[in-house]
């Protein structure tokens, strides 16, 4: 068996104590150990952005972080964006702009965009494109995604 460590972390607002294998990434633990499968696995080398989550306010590729690194930290995944059953402004804008096509990259896009707007609530087109450059979309809904982020930025904050 793999060596494990016990970590204490907050995921989507819920405090958790989890035993994680020391060699497992945050992505492994989210998807396989605690069934938060909204975070997607694609390239596992930090290039595609499908596994992006927010750790202490920063967007991170969860495939490049060991799970033990989130000990004492706060993690938000796509499942944590809805608040009291209400979609976030970004989620709603993604629906309105048809930004989610096959949808597989969308959790990562949403997390990068959430982090971007937290840092820069009124970004330009170029700033959105740069902020999301690490999130590949093969349906290539980049135009729709950019529009959705700009629309959400202009909307009333939740």
């Amino acid at each position: 068996m793999n060596e494990t460590l016990t970590i204490r972390t907050t995921i989507n607002g819920r405090k958790r104590t989890i035993d994680v294998a020391v060699n497992h990434t945050l992505l492994d633990v989210l998807r396989d150990d605690i069934d938060l499968t909204g975070t997607k696995e694609c390239c596992v080398v930090g290039e595609c952005g499908a596994c992006t989550v927010i750790v202490d306010g920063r967007p991170m590729n969860s495939c490049l972080m060991l799970a033990v690194e989130i000990d004492g930290k706060e993690v938000t995944t796509v499942e944590g964006l809805e608040l009291d059953g209400e979609l976030s402004a970004l989620q709603a804008a993604f629906l309105d702009e048809s930004a989610a096509q096959c949808g597989f990259c969308i959790p990562g896009q949403l997390m990068s965009a959430t982090a971007l707007l937290a840092e820069n609530p009124d970004p330009s087109v170029e700033e959105v494109q740069e902020g999301l450059a690490g999130n590949l979309c093969r349906c290539a809904g980049y135009e729709q995604i950019t529009k959705a982020v700009l629309a959400a930025a202009k909307g009333v904050p939740r």
Partner: protein, 749 residues
Amino acid sequence: MSAQSVGSSPRRGGGYGRVTGHQEYLADIKLPDMLHVKLVTLDVARARINSIDVSEAESLPGVAFVMTAADLPDPMPRFGPQFQDRPVIADGETKYHGEPVAAVAAETKDAAEEGARRVKVDYEKLEGGIFNVTDALAPDAVLVQDPSLRGDSPFAQTNVIDEKRFGWGDIEAQESDLVVEDNFQFPMVTHFAIEPHGFMAAPTGDGIEIWSTIQHPYLLQKIMAKMLQLPLSKVRVHAPDPGGGFGGKQIPKFEPLVAFMALRAGRPVRLVLTLDETFQQVRRSSAEIRIRAGFTSEGALTFMDVETNFLVGAYVDIADRVVSKSSYAAAGPYRIPAVKIIGRTIVSHTTPSTAFRGFGIPQIGWARESLIDEAALQLGMDRLEIRLLNLARYKEAFIPMEEADGDWEQTVRTAAKRIGWGDPLPPNRGRGIAVGLKSGPTTGLSYSTVRLLYDGSAMVYAGTSDMGQGARTIFAQIASDELGVPVEQISVVMGDTAVVPYDQQTSASRSSVLMGTAVQRACFDIQGKVRAMAAELYGVDEAAIKIDSGNLLLPDRDVAIVDAMQQALAPLGGEVIGNGEMRKQKDPNHPLGGTAAFFEFNCTASEVEVDMETGHVTLVKHVTVGDVGRSLNPQQVTAQDDGAAIQGLGHTLMEHYIFDDEGRIRNIGAIDYRILTSMDLPLEMHSESIENADGPGPYGIKGVSEGSLLVTAPAVAAAVREATGVLIRDLPLTPQRVWEALQEAKDGS
């Protein structure tokens, strides 16, 4: 009355799950007590497998067993949509880099991976691997496929699977003022769906359940039933919405392997590929195209002669159909008195190619449109005018048994206007324009069931796979208008052969037209039933009741279909069920087995700026205009167009497999194989639809999902040529390739 849904853009069906993380893709599904599978591959393309020692792997804690060819029936079961040539697992010899030789089943992913590392394969690299067309066609070439698998093919002793010959008229008899000829190449590129392929299987006692990221669940069901000698009713295929397909997920790959492993284990097993593994399993066919064409001094085409060698890979998959279908339309949308077309399907020791958006047309279109430009240059003609002059007009027969099904001139003129054709250009800028044509489906069979539920909501059952094109939304819109049920009260059920009736496949941009018609007919069936119920209820002659947009028009008043249904079914409740079928029959006289249901016609125009020092191409403006019949959901049509255009820009500017001389792909994965990011987009992008309601689908629609990448490459390359004066005949147009061409031109002048 409900608002008209067709022509509007309601929120996407399945959209909520996609923005909340609740959408269940294959890899998100866990089966109780399942084993995890890891493939064992060799770092070589062509090798003889002498022996495989699984003992160390099988002794690891957590490893259940290792599957090799020795554990499968003898002779090795083989399968494929056209030829039964793909083995369940490599049998005695690997034929491409990444072909699995063993598969480890274990209790955990970690154990499976560790087990895979401990499988000892004794193999020797074989010389003579075939990695390009020239080697494949050499007289002493090693045969990629065993001739005994080739049946009575006249080509069985060669690496040619088949040679397609099409054409009309006598090309030698034509008088031309100008003849141009050239050779072009198109590289191997991969689909790169963000969701890697995945497969699961579970024995059910008297049958099997399969889960797959597949686009064609019913094809998979048929192949599995045949291989396991089970009735179709005992093979249940679950096909969760794929996370991107683009053709790469049409044809079964490792489903038979996981099925045999599940049967051996007596437990569910699951294999989810990594992105890197997926790179080694699916790609677009590369091609070498020789093309020659004659023109009058006025620019009218006199003949065209096209010969394409497609290098399809180790197993044929659906590639031979790619070759025939694209070859048949090789001459494009032009009026040409004489045409000669040859297309060859050539096997090699490389990743098996499969369907990929455009289905062979981007390869041939690249050559044809580039050659038309060369002719225009030599004739001193405008590149737009030469196309308009030769373009087939509406209803004109331009290929045997096919006629132009749209106002293509309007499409081309719209694109030209959008790009600013003829406007003065700044230095180092250029524009290009190209036209692309692809046959839609030549046969089809789609069934749909629609249930109008007592509360006035509805369920649509359709065997299409919604892989991002938005089929759920389209079907809901059709049902909404026909039944008068709001879109948001309609659920569309897909992806389970035990629940949803048969559909031939999700390919060739067919679903809105073919399945859409089946859905509409299922709604007509419900309308008829409710009309009969209303006639009895209201004491009216059935023939006197007309139906319009979800309403029954009685002689004295209008009643919503939903209201009439509720009154008729009270007090017990219940529902009204409708069935619809859409069949596009085979035509044995047609060289492709059937006429095109529609054509996807697209005009692509591009403006670029080239950095003469570095060879970097900046896309200043990119325009695609499609002849779509009618835009049933404008937002989704635009998304498909933009997406196709961006994918086309990928193979035009940056995507290609790089091989070493041993046939190993050297740029596997997201770091070394680049696709466009949000930073690589054209500075301006437009997609536009020509809507004349002249398509065969509901409300006059045609298929739309491929048009915008058919001729991306020639449009962009033509713009580069105008900006720089250099003609490039191979893709992608990387800065290095452009820079080298610029240097060569400089040195030569």
